[in-house]
């Protein structure tokens, strides 16, 4: 009933007041303001040498096979959920080790040629300290005559194969200088990001409290960044709308936290960035996503344990310590959102059932299985924005403070 009253009275002023109050209590509860820092995570020169060596090894093997009259073979891990295992203690999806072998034959000759030519491009970029986006790599191929890619989808697939192939040798796609086209998510809050001017080498400090109504954008590679913070936790948010609301009301100040906008399934850069916040700055990470199979099984699952198709890179690109703040199926009941829901579509039901049956993450957590079954039983989905039913800032004034009182109860 209290919730309903607040809803009726909603105005900017009261909302701010309440937000300040609740944020204050949260900060008090943590009890201290901590300043943590981290340096760049890797040594560029060593990475460069390792990448070059790996490329050379693969090509040399193909060359040896060819001159010995053998049909050359390339091995790479299978990239699918079936080749993934999950151990709670490890905390992320690991590759189960099944390899696929690509032998040079009529069906593979085109891909084989393209793989080698992209590896040659990688070598050139590593040596020349340049990079190419996936889109650019696709366009580079247009100069290859017959071997060119007709669509970016084709070059992306070959790049993924190359990535898998080299992940076995512990070399990432970024280290091969192929960077994703899309940038990472947005960040605001008490965080200072220390980057480097690529031309002068001068350090550049970005204070994420000073972004006005905008936000700091996570770059496509993050391991070279230095980080400093006084925040107590990280809130990873699914939608831009919710992120804007919390940023607008400076909730990161009241709650003393870092807000990260994921924008759907988090990109690798976003996952790596949040991981560094969690590991290097020792911050707890809470996820705030829609209550539907996509939000839970795709967005949250990928943030926490990585993806099935990129299992070879999950070690670095996920946040095993993350927990699930909401929206949980139980929240729909607890916060009276039943009439602000939509029915589950067949595709949602399929996704949830598939997760229950095949996804090692959900198989490992009885609590999650129960939650998914509850959702399926209710047959509805609720969005983050559904709280607006009780007033636009109900989420700031009521929902988040109430949930944050008991982080231990978050779903794993």
């Amino acid at each position: 009933m209290a919730a309903r009253k607040t809803n009726q009275k909603t105005s900017k002023k009261t909302a701010k007041k309440v937000a300040k109050k609740t944020g204050g209590t949260a900060a008090r509860k943590v009890g201290r303001k901590r300043k943590a820092g981290a340096r760049a995570a890797a040594d560029p020169a060593a990475l460069q040498a390792a990448a070059l060596e790996s490329i050379h090894q693969v090509a040399a093997q193909v060359h040896r096979d060819a001159r010995a009259g053998r049909l050359p073979q390339i091995q790479m891990p299978q990239r699918n959920l079936a080749n993934v295992r999950f151990d709670k203690k490890v905390g992320y999806f690991e590759m189960a080790g099944n390899l696929k072998t690509r032998t040079l034959d009529v069906n593979s000759v085109k891909t084989f040629a393209q793989t080698l030519r992209l590896m040659a491009l990688a070598k050139e970029m590593v040596a020349g300290e340049d990079f190419a986006t996936k889109r650019e790599a696709y366009y580079v191929s247009k100069n290859w005559g017959d071997a060119k890619f007709n669509e970016q989808r084709e070059s992306d697939t070959v790049l993924d194969d190359i990535e898998g192939m080299f992940s076995v040798k512990d070399v990432t796609r970024e280290e091969l200088r192929f960077v994703p086209e899309e940038h990472g998510g947005s960040v605001v809050g008490p965080l200072v990001v220390i980057d480097r001017d690529p031309e002068t080498g001068e350090p550049i400090r970005s204070d994420c409290t000073g972004m006005g109504s905008g936000a700091f954008t996570i770059p496509s590679t993050v391991d070279h960044l230095g980080l400093e913070t006084t925040a107590d936790f990280v809130l990873a948010i699914e939608t831009g709308g919710m992120f804007q609301r919390l940023n607008h009301h400076r909730w990161w100040r009241t709650a003393n936290c870092i807000l990260v906008e994921m924008g759907g399934v988090p990109t690798r850069a976003t996952r790596r960035f949040v991981r560094r916040l969690a590991d290097d700055l020792r911050l707890p990470v809470y996820a705030f996503v829609d209550c539907d199979p996509y939000g839970i099984c795709n967005i949250y699952r990928t943030l926490k344990v990585g993806s099935g198709s990129a299992a070879h890179v999950n070690r670095k690109y996920c946040v095993p310590s993350a927990t699930f703040l909401g929206v949980t199926p139980q929240d729909i009941v607890d916060f009276g959102l039943q009439d602000a829901t939509h029915p589950l579509q067949p595709v949602d039901v399929k996704r949830a059932k598939d997760a229950l049956k095949n996804d090692p993450f959900f198989q490992a957590w009885p609590k999650w299985r129960a939650a998914l079954k509850q959702l399926l039983k209710m047959g509805v989905r609720a969005e983050q924005q559904a709280f607006a039913k009780w007033g636009l800032n109900f989420v700031i004034e009521e929902y988040l403070p109430r949930k944050l009182k008991e982080p231990k109860k978050f779903l794993p």
Binding site: A59, V106, V109, K110
Partner: protein
């Protein structure tokens, strides 16, 4: 009263008289293939050429036949057919060419092109009726001088009138016959034309050399001889009891010289010995010593039924002269240039007591189009072979229905294709199994010629014009079996072609991308161009070794 007088029987009797065959023909010429000017030209030539071929073969001579068509007026043509046959004895010439239903073949149980003895005299008669001029015949036997006859037919009496009888001192050939006639006709090319007939005749008679000069050409086209042996002369056989109908049986009973029924059966029929004769006579309830000429109609009927009930072995097949697989292949190869030939001959079979034999030949794949060849090293090359014949092409395009060439005793059948047993058998065969596409109830599609030949003592035509074969179940069955046999080989060939084509495509694909493997390796490992080329060549060899066809 007298204005509308009814005829009395006596008056009617005055109008009742014998109709001569010639007169009958004059009114019903379509029955013999003279329906229209175009067909009249074809039938005239066909009858003359058929006779020439029959005569040459009977005399064991390799036929050399020349056909000339000369246009005299718009609708008037002169046809001259010359052969190197044995020639015709002088006294017989007027009867053979001037009298309908006069001939040697009607009563003989021997395989020949002609059957009734109508054709050539009908051609002369047609010429006479349309132009007023009868045929001119020149003939020379080995032993005599050449003679020239010009004949007019009295077609009320079915008798020849000799208008010219000349002995020729100087005749160009040692023996042979020349038939010349002027007739109202029209000449066209294309399907069912004289050109078509000559071409098909050359296919089925590879032992003959044919020269053909159509109107308006200066030089004859030569259809060369591909086989140097005259086909073996088929033996003459007596009728088989199963093949004789009641009326014919009664006539035979009346005409026989045998005095006992038992000896009549054994003498006049084949495959009847004392035992079979006894069985038939017992089943008919007659006496073995009954006098054949005294057997009455009811008794003849019982005899006829008894024959049908008695088991009698099949007639001998020595009377058949099939073209032969090798000759069909030769004939097709010389007149129908194709990529692949498949030929099948069935063993002899019997319908209604008549022995017959079916042969099939298929020519497939139009030359002049690109095709693939596999050399001994297993490499595939694209080649383009030129067409070797310059005469009209029997093969159609790949998206047209196949051409069906029908032959009865080596004579091409050009008309009534759809009602012919051969066409029906082709349609009823499932060609999809053999690599050709085929719509339901239609001829298969493809650049192919399907030849069907029936050799028989008595070919069951559906009409006197000898245009289509009657679909007796036994005949249909044999044709289908032959088509299947030839079709299986065609199917294997087409499938192999498809395999080679797909392999060729795959190798092209390899050829397209393999160099890029070399470039990639070169860029990473930094070796020189020579090393790159050698690496690519090594890969190519390994890959081709892994892909044997």
């Amino acid at each position: 009263m007298a204005s509308r007088k009814h005829a009395t029987a006596e008056e009617m009797a005055r109008a009742q008289k014998e109709i001569s065959v010639s007169e009958f023909f004059a009114k019903n010429r379509h029955l013999l293939g003279f329906d229209n000017p175009r067909k009249a030209l074809l039938t005239t030539i066909k009858e003359a050429v058929d006779n020439s071929l029959d005569a040459c073969e009977e005399a064991g001579i390799l036929p050399e036949i020349s056909v000339t068509i000369e246009q005299i007026e718009d609708d008037r043509f002169r046809v001259v057919v010359e052969d190197n046959g044995p020639g015709i004895v002088r006294a017989q010439i007027p009867n053979i060419f001037g009298k309908l239903l006069y001939g040697s073949k009607f009563h003989s149980r021997r395989q020949s092109r002609g059957q009734q003895g109508i054709g050539i005299s009908a051609a002369g008669l047609y010429g006479q009726m349309t132009t007023g001029k009868g045929p001119r015949i020149e003939s020379r036997t080995r032993r005599g001088k050449a003679h020239r006859y010009e004949i007019q037919m009295d077609f009320t009496k079915n008798k020849p009138l000799i208008t010219l009888d000349q002995e020729l001192d100087d005749w160009p050939r040692p023996h042979g016959t020349t038939f010349a006639v002027t007739l109202e006709a029209s000449y066209q090319r294309g399907l069912r034309s004289v050109d078509d007939y000559i071409k098909q005749t050359a296919v089925a008679n590879p032992h003959a050399e044919i020269r053909y000069q159509p109107p308006g050409s200066d030089e004859p086209r030569v259809y060369p001889r591909a086989v140097k042996e005259v086909p073996e002369r088929p033996a003459e056989i007596k009728p088989h009891p199963y093949g004789v109908e009641l009326g014919e049986l009664m006539k035979m009973l009346r005409d026989t010289r045998c005095r006992w029924l038992s000896s009549f059966l054994q003498e006049e029929f084949c495959r009847v010995g004392p035992k079979v004769a006894r069985e038939i006579i017992a089943a008919a309830g007659l006496g073995e010593r009954s006098y054949p000429t005294r057997i009455a109609r009811e008794e003849a009927d019982r005899l006829y039924r008894a024959i049908q009930k008695t088991r009698i072995s099949a007639p001998p097949t020595t009377c058949l002269s099939p073209i032969g697989e090798e000759r069909i292949r030769e004939g097709l190869m010389k007149e129908c240039d194709a990529d692949f030939y498949s030929v099948a001959t069935r063993p002899p079979a019997v319908y209604r007591g008549n022995p017959f034999q079916i042969e099939v030949g298929i020519a497939w794949g139009k030359p002049g189009e690109e095709r693939l060849e596999v050399d001994q090293r297993g490499r595939i090359r694209k080649t383009k072979r030129k067409r070797t014949t310059d005469t009209e092409d029997l093969l159609g395009a790949a998206d047209e229905p196949v051409r069906v060439l029908r032959f009865a005793n080596r004579v091409p059948l050009l008309f009534q294709q759809s009602s012919c047993a051969f066409t029906k058998a082709v349609i009823q065969t499932s060609w999809k199994n053999y690599g050709l596409s085929q719509a339901r109830g239609a001829l298969p599609t493809g650049s192919a010629v399907i030849l069907v030949h029936m050799a028989s003592v008595w070919v069951p035509f559906t009409s006197e014009a000898k245009e289509a074969i009657a679909p007796y179940p036994e005949i249909m069955k044999e044709v289908k079996l032959a088509l299947q046999e030839a079709g299986r080989r065609l199917g294997a060939h087409i499938r192999k072609g498809k395999r080679v084509a797909s392999e060729y495509q795959k190798r092209n694909y390899i050829e397209k991308y393999l160099p890029h493997v070399g470039v990639g390796l070169q860029e990473i490992l930094g070796f020189d161009d020579e090393e790159r080329e050698e690496t690519v060549e090594a890969l190519r060899e390994s890959m081709e070794a892994a892909r044997k066809i």
